[in-house]
Amino acid sequence: MIEAINRAHTWELAHDPTVVVLGEDIGVNGGVFRATAGLQEQFGKNRVQDTPLAEGMIAGMAIGMATQGLKPVAEIQFMGFIYPALDQIANHMARLRNRTRGRLTCPVVIRMPHGGGIHAPEHHSESLEAMLAHHAGLRVVCPSSPARAYGLLLAAIRDPDPIIFLEPARLYRLVKQEVADDGKALPLDVCYRLREGTDVTVVTWGAMITETMRAAETLQTQGVSCEVLDLATLSPIDHDTILESVTKTGRLVIVHEAPRNCGIGAEIAATVAEHGLYDLHAPIKRVTGYDTIMPLARLEYDYIPNAARIMDAVRETLVE
């Protein structure tokens, strides 16, 4: 996935002279995960800029550039580091179009690694998508494969509005896939159906796709057919595809690594309860991270939902 992200940057830097890449250690060092390796060498220091260790400034700089006709792609080194940038993101980036009645726009992409599973210290493994989704004017996107990382990142850069782009850190080097480096973007604001099924709809995103697909495969051998939807754009949610799937299966399980309380799973469940209640054969189940601080390395796999938990939740919906 990391190479797909690097190639999407390369493509867009080469084809759109207004694209500027910035962040901590992204130039000379090529990024902590190597997402931007080689870009400064190829495109120079004006277009690929190292910044001081100051997230608020990175977001603020990106906003300023965007209002003046550039398309900044900024990196926050880890999602837990986003807090100092939130003032700029929430108070300016998300609302600039609205505040100026459309006179100024903010086509910024802010990328960051998302989630745990890489044995990192504190503040490096958070899943804070719900906090961002709560802000009007922002899109939140999270790819789950190299191909979607490539296509959705291109779409995000080309979109005229600000986008938070969450890259599942443990997928960076986990999943290998051939990606056509053809500059083709994938659509935003839609779910991707990764597996057709008839018994239960399972909605998930990011790194949880891996565990969910594993669970779905095992369940298939036991005669349970799961339809797996990759949410991909976490805000706004493609409720139509989810409701259509639930109409078919009558059961819904939502899986996310982020904490349960006020998570995006709750938004999906509420919408299905509002518009699809009579299609449901069983209560909706959520399999999520716990409402605790993301633990350190030795407990992170006790925090992140595993296939066993997902399978039990699916089976519970089938009992009804």
Binding site: N261, Y290, D291, A297, R298, L299, D302, R309
Partner: protein, 92 residues
């Protein structure tokens, strides 16, 4: 070459850099020197390494550790989640 500020401004800022000034001040007072600084750095590195080793080589913490010390009075829902975490402990 940066366009946003003059290089002389950067040089001047380095001269006023507070940590460097504090070190120079302590050296003048003969309260600090290169050897002591190296020794402090080595000691800090040892302390951090030892803490990491201890964490990684000791017994694995129980899943309850995630829920401990979060609240003085943990809410009911959190205690229910603690039960779920115990049930699904990964063992890895």
């Amino acid at each position: 070459m940066r366009a946003d500020r003059d290089q002389s401004e950067v040089r001047e800022a380095w001269e006023k850099e507070p940590l460097l000034r504090l070190r120079a001040h302590l050296v003048r007072l003969k309260a600090w020197d290169e050897a002591r600084e190296e020794s402090l750095k080595a000691e800090c590195a040892r302390e951090v390494e030892a803490a990491v080793d201890q964490y990684l080589s000791g017994p694995k913490p129980s899943t309850d550790a995630m829920f401990d010390h979060l609240f003085a009075n943990p809410p009911k829902g959190l205690l229910e989640q603690r039960e779920i975490a115990r049930r699904y402990a990964s063992g890895r």
